[in-house]
């Protein structure tokens, strides 16, 4: 799977949403796509669990364009799908964010 790439900002209910895309190729039989929001700091990024701050990013949705696969959650069972995935996450004011994507779960045929 490729590293998530930031595509653009969007506005939804006055909330700032960041759209990221990644390409799923060799899945190794793993079917569950898990998205973790990251807060960007100088020289790196930290997971929100490590950031003692109320202004935290959160995953809004994951979807596979051109399919019915979508979830308003931070995990999605993508089955045998490969190709583009889109992840939307909230961006707190005055914070830069990034995204970690991982394929996990039981092996499938």
């Amino acid at each position: 799977m490729s590293s998530p790439e930031f595509v653009r900002l969007e506005l939804a209910d006055d909330k700032i949403i960041a759209l990221f895309q990644a390409e799923v190729s060799g899945r190794g039989g793993r079917a569950i796509l898990r998205a973790d929001p990251l807060l960007a700091i100088e020289g790196g990024a930290v997971g929100v669990a490590e950031a003692a701050d109320e202004k935290l990013p959160a995953i809004v949705s994951i979807r596979v364009p051109g399919s019915n696969l979508a979830a308003d959650a931070s995990t999605l069972d993508i089955g045998n799908s490969t190709g583009l995935v889109e992840v939307r996450m909230t961006v707190p004011d005055e914070r830069a964010v990034s995204l970690s994507l991982e394929l996990t779960g039981e092996e499938t045929e």
Binding site: E5, F6, E42, G43, V91
Partner: protein, 298 residues
Amino acid sequence: MKQRLAFPYLTPSPEAIDAGPWMFSLNNCEPRPLGPALPNWDYDASLVISRRFRFDHEKLSGDVGLSPDADILSIQVEAGTGQGTLARKIIESFRQALSGSEPLLELQIPLLSSRLSSRLSLTTTLFLSRKFDAVSRLSPRQAASRLWGDRHVVALDGDDTLFPMEAISFDEYFGSRIQSGALWHLHWDPHHLNRDFRGAMRLYLNADDLDFMTRIRDQDPVMLQALLSDVIFQMCSHALLDEDAHVFLHEPEPGTVAHQISGWLKTAFGHIPAARLRSTLEARPGEFRTAILAISRV
């Protein structure tokens, strides 16, 4: 270049800012492009760095939702120095306001070589110089909001070690395990190729083997070639076989593990994409290994 960070406001598209390469002039010579190393530099050298920019102010303002004549953008260059990816000390901070009517900007910054050590890190940042009452919710508003930036890291000639190395007793480190009979051990984390090279790896030498240690101290060229090629092969082959790592090799951050691996691969094979090199490694491992051995000659 892939953008992995999302800022909480709109940022300019690449077409809005044409940033030229950093140039350097050493001892009043003609300016030359500043690469990953600064040859012939010493602590007494007179050093001037320069860079040209061309701004498409209309495009830039449109991209981020500012008015072109607002004149609220400034550019800053911070020159830092010291070992590691992040500069240990900022020795120069240069700031200049941009004029919306002037597309060209040339920066010339003299640096005191006597204040430099190990590496020179040049961080360029375009930012809002004051608070802005933007119409769009997505536009930058706060003073010091960063709109664009990049960083260039330069190794200063003759002031960098090749590898972080340490001699230890393998009998103590590995105990009764079979590894205690090895001559060296490369400790590194292959899952974080964007980490600082010197902080992410360490080469342990077996201090229990006195003959080996003598050869290392005497800089035996055959021994060093064998050692170096093994380290390079381990790191390059892992990075090529891990498809997720290819993205880091494409445009690696200077000073990172990926940057070092990418440099070795370019030296051995030229500008061949990682996917093709992986095929070479899998189909003709002997040829791949021999190329690594060849570039490891010291």
